[in-house]
Amino acid sequence: MIEVSQLTKTYGATVALDHVSFVVQPGEVVGLLGPNGAGKTTMLKILTGYLPPSDGSARVANYDVLDQSLELRRRIGYLPETNPLYEELAVYESLTWTARLRGMPPADAEGAIRLAIQVCGLQSVIGKDIAHLSKGYRQRVGLAQAILHDPEILILDEPTSGLDPNQQDEVHALIQTMRQRKTVLLSTHILSEASRVCDRVLIIHKGNIVADGSPAGFGRPLEDVFRELTRS
């Protein structure tokens, strides 16, 4: 469960998030939509404990983002927007170090790595250096790192960015397989992706939530709703 209450984030005079509140129930797949600079990534960075909010509060898996950040980080899987990876490491090495840094016992880590490799389709590149991977495979490595410890909450910042349509389908299928057991909050500006994958969408514009509902519940195409609410 994710609970956000009156969350505000400012960078100097710029207000990135302005008293935003919402709740994501367990098992929900929620899409955070918005034009570039709307505050989506800032929101996700606060929810992962990476950035502190300027005001308001947020709880993820019942842990406060400021006061219980360490516990919170144990329970989330996060794919950042830029998908930063250690290019000097091979895929298997990268997953092994992620498992170790997450404190997974070696016996559990071995199985978890094997499962993540299989789920993310990384079998053919496990020995390759990340520096030599295509963008699609790099994205899969980022996803594998995010799901490795079987987190109860997945936070994905533009998970299909840079992927070809087939790869996008694979990521969507992956999210679908996880929806029974996990809460997923993903940001995207691909509206068809949101309609297809998400139970609910939050449209964010200039740091405010301007729409909250199921993609079908708006009564008209999501694209029209998005354009109307985020114009100007």
């Binding site: 992962t48 990476y50 989330i76 930063p84 000097e88 490491l89």
Partner: protein, 236 residues
């Protein structure tokens, strides 16, 4: 503490995967080897002095070169975001990087043990002094590593991190020379801050707690500074 070791091993793996590490290490071994061997063969003198006396100056280049990428590369590539959203405390990240850099420098220093071993074969070196020399080297390495990490946390550009780290280390190296031109009461204070005074005292085999305290507090100060800089950059 387990997280610190795990992170240090990962950092060490990355350092050992980088070709620059080997270039820097080879250059270090060539220079120290030449410093040790030249008096041995040219003037038939078996001494470690020519090897360890220039070490503070050599370390002003070597240590920032080995630490320059530690934080700057994390900020540049964005991996600091990955690292910071793992269940690790910020101080564990700083300590992990410190332990990794010290591990690599410790490995290089271990290679130099061949010099006292050669001395044991051809002469009668003082074991107390040998011990003091290596405690000095580790103290100096620890202090400069903390400075290098702090410099690396300041910028996302590795070259700038190297120059800044070198500048701070070189300042501490120069202080004892500058002190000669200062009035008496100030000269003592400035000399006390310089690395030379503490390095030479320990290297003579005189184990003084003030020298050990200098390395420990200097290291702690710059590691704390690295932590503050990292947090302020991350949260900006």
């Amino acid at each position: 503490m387990k997280s610190v070791w795990t992170l240090a091993r990962k950092e060490l793996t990355i350092l050992l995967n980088a070709p620059a590490t080997y270039v820097i290490s080879v250059v270090f071994m060539l220079i120290t080897g030449w410093l040790f061997v030249s008096p041995l063969f040219q003037v038939n003198q078996s001494t470690l002095d020519t090897f360890f006396r220039p070490l503070p100056l050599i370390f002003t280049f070597l240590v920032p070169a080995l630490t320059m990428r530690s934080f700057s590369e994390e900020f540049k590539s964005g991996t600091i975001e990955y690292l910071s959203t793992l269940p690790l405390e910020d101080h564990e990240i700083v300590l992990g990087k410190y332990v990794a850099a010290m591990g690599l420098i410790g490995l290089l220093v271990t290679f130099t043990l061949v010099y006292p071993l050669v001395l044991l074969l051809v002469g009668r070196p003082d074991p107390g002094q040998l011990f003091g020399v290596y405690v000095s080297i580790l103290g100096l390495a620890s202090f400069f590593t903390a400075i290098g990490l702090c410099a690396s946390a300041v910028t996302r550009n590795q070259v700038v991190a190297f120059i800044l780290g070198f500048f701070i280390c070189f300042t501490f190296f120069l202080l004892s020379r500058v002190a000669d031109f200062m009035p008496g009461f100030l000269a003592g204070f400035v000399r006390g801050l310089s690395v030379d005074a503490h390095f030479d005292a320990l290297a003579r085999g005189v184990l003084d707690t003030r020298d050990v305290l200098y390395w420990v507090t200097g290291t702690a100060f710059f590691l704390a500074a690295a932590l503050s800089v990292m947090q302020s950059k991350k949260w900006r």
